[in-house]
């Protein structure tokens, strides 16, 4: 088992080395301009420089702030509304058709409209993140609360639980695998949306803006350094934050995910 594992690690390591070597080879071969395909050393230097002068932290902080505000708003609206939809028929009948009509529209399609309405800047980015994150949150909460086993509800009712305790002790824990899946998915969507929104609604700070801005000056090294940081933050959120929350719930409720996306 351990031998097999170390072989897997060695092979994984090898493919990174091979890929990096191949990239270096092409970058130094002179087939492509160094401005378009900077060697790895240059990218590392640029990244180091941007970290040292703090500009990279500024961009990352701006992007994270936009994501967290938009995502927070989406959770604050989507979670209660999803619960209400599942518990109250009229709310479901009203919200569901609207949600199914708005959901298939990619959030970034709204960018030009929002720019016209709210002007360039943070309002647009935050609203786009909100739009992207809202629907996964809403629909997962809704289906999670609906998926709570009715026998649990009846059992709790028979044992004398009032509405409030029923809600906090049965419905919310019962729906939480779905809710957590919704949080995770909403965050991933937000993370994609914020990059696109920052590119389109220029705002001087933000990882998406840096990449877009670097295009004008042919700074491929800045682009790649920023892409790296975007990947690292996304990876950290996915694996460390949501991964650990989700693993805890999967172990506790014995549920497994079927598909990854």
């Amino acid at each position: 088992m351990t031998a097999e594992r170390s072989r897997s690690l060695r092979r994984g390591f090898t493919s990174f080395i091979v890929l990096a070597a191949f990239y270096e080879l092409v970058a130094h071969s002179g087939f492509v301009k160094p401005a378009l395909m900077p060697p790895l050393g240059t990218i590392a230097q640029t990244l180091g420089g941007m970290l040292a002068d703090g500009s990279m932290f500024g961009h990352a902080a701006a992007t994270l702030a936009r994501v967290l505000i938009g995502f927070g708003l989406a959770v604050a609206v989507g979670l209660p509304l999803g619960v209400l939809m599942a518990r109250l028929r009229p709310v479901e009948h009203f919200v569901l058709p609207l949600a199914s009509a708005l959901m298939p529209i990619p959030s970034l399609a709204w960018v030009p409209v929002f720019i016209l309405w709210f002007g360039l800047g943070d309002t647009v980015t935050v609203l786009i993140v909100f739009y992207a994150a809202l629907f996964p949150m809403l629909l997962n909460t809704w289906s999670g609360v609906r998926a709570v086993n009715p026998i649990w509800l009846r059992a709790a009712g028979a044992m004398g639980a009032d509405e409030r305790r029923l809600f906090w002790k049965v419905i919310i824990p019962g729906a939480s695998p779905f809710i957590i899946a919704g949080l995770r998915q909403s965050f991933l969507r937000s993370w994609i949306a914020v990059i696109g929104a920052e590119m389109l609604a220029a705002s001087n700070w933000g990882l998406g803006w840096v990449i877009f801005d670097a295009q004008q000056f042919l700074n491929a090294d800045v682009m790649m350094a920023s892409i790296l940081v975007i990947g690292l933050i996304g990876f950290a959120a996915e694996r460390l934050v949501f991964g650990s929350i989700e693993r805890a719930t999967i172990y506790r409720w014995g549920m497994a995910r079927m598909a990854k996306g």
Binding site: R11, A109, G182, I195, M224, M258
Partner: protein, 273 residues
């Protein structure tokens, strides 16, 4: 992502105690209320009409653009890009995913690379691709393909690994060679996952294509139409474009994937519809 309510589930909601007419009315009612609110706000002049056109203006613009053939041209170009990028992703993604599921060696070599590359939002690469390939169709199609490949790889890989060992051994014992094993056991066994992956991949492709069109300065395409309309403050053109985008999004799901699923995995009894 498997837990998301699919549109089909939403549509297949039990209507309760009432008939189809009541259900249709009930589904239209929220749109009448929101539409009414929109109309009121537009006609009261709370916002300049240029930014907040009444719905009849949007409908008129929609008709005008459709009849003049401008809108269909945009739609056609967007769909062609989507199909080209997605087809590329489907071929590469299913190929890599199946290879990873079948061979431990391929899995060991490729999985770390894919796990590192997959969480990076594909849109982040847009300026880089534009720099490398110049503006236009090539970077748009490549980006769409790149983005939708990852869910396809993941699901094809999971699907092949999820094929029950006992089916493979049974087929072997009955004398199936590798080709027939693949064709008659592994492929059908993995298909529910592969279809999930294709569906997720197409959804992702669709979500970023509109944004890529805005950034890549392609001459035709819905994203470009919406983005270009911004300069002339044509909110009605933008909203018509967004309406078409919503229709295509629903259509992809309803007309492409549901029939495909019904025709394959549901018919084979692998999942219930």
């Amino acid at each position: 992502m498997a837990q998301v309510a699919e549109l089909s589930e939403i549509a297949a909601q039990p209507a309760g105690e009432t008939g189809p007419v009541w259900r249709a009315l009930r589904n239209i009612f929220p749109f009448i209320v929101t539409g009414g609110a929109w109309e009121t706000a537009a006609h009261l002049g709370l916002f300049p009409a240029k930014f907040f056109p009444p719905l009849e203006t949007v409908a008129a613009t929609f008709m005008r653009l459709t009849i003049s053939g401008v809108l269909p041209h945009h739609v056609l170009d967007t769909l062609l890009r989507l199909i080209a990028g997605f087809a590329l992703a489907a071929i590469i993604g299913v190929g890599i995913g199946v290879a990873m599921g079948r061979s431990r060696r391929v899995e060991d070599y490729l999985l770390p690379l894919i796990s590192v590359a997959a969480p990076i939002p594909g849109l982040a690469y847009t300026p880089l691709f534009l720099l490398w390939f110049g503006p236009g169709n090539v970077p748009s199609i490549l980006l769409v393909a790149f983005v939708s490949t990852f869910p396809i790889i993941y699901n094809a890989w999971t699907g092949v690994k999820a094929v029950k060992d006992i089916w493979v051994r049974a087929a072997h014992a009955m004398g199936a060679d590798d080709r027939r094993l693949f064709r008659h056991v592994i492929l059908p066994g993995a298909l529910p996952y592969v279809l999930t992956g294709l569906r997720l991949g197409l959804a992702q492709a669709w979500r970023i294509l509109v944004a890529v069109e805005m950034l890549a300065a392609v001459p035709w395409g819905l994203g470009w139409m919406i983005f270009g309309a911004q300069e002339f403050l044509n909110t009605d053109v933008m909203l018509s474009g967004i309406a078409v985008i919503a229709l295509i999004g629903v259509g992809l799901e309803k007309l492409v994937f549901q029939p495909l699923e019904n025709f394959t995995v549901v018919r084979w009894g692998m999942v219930t519809s």
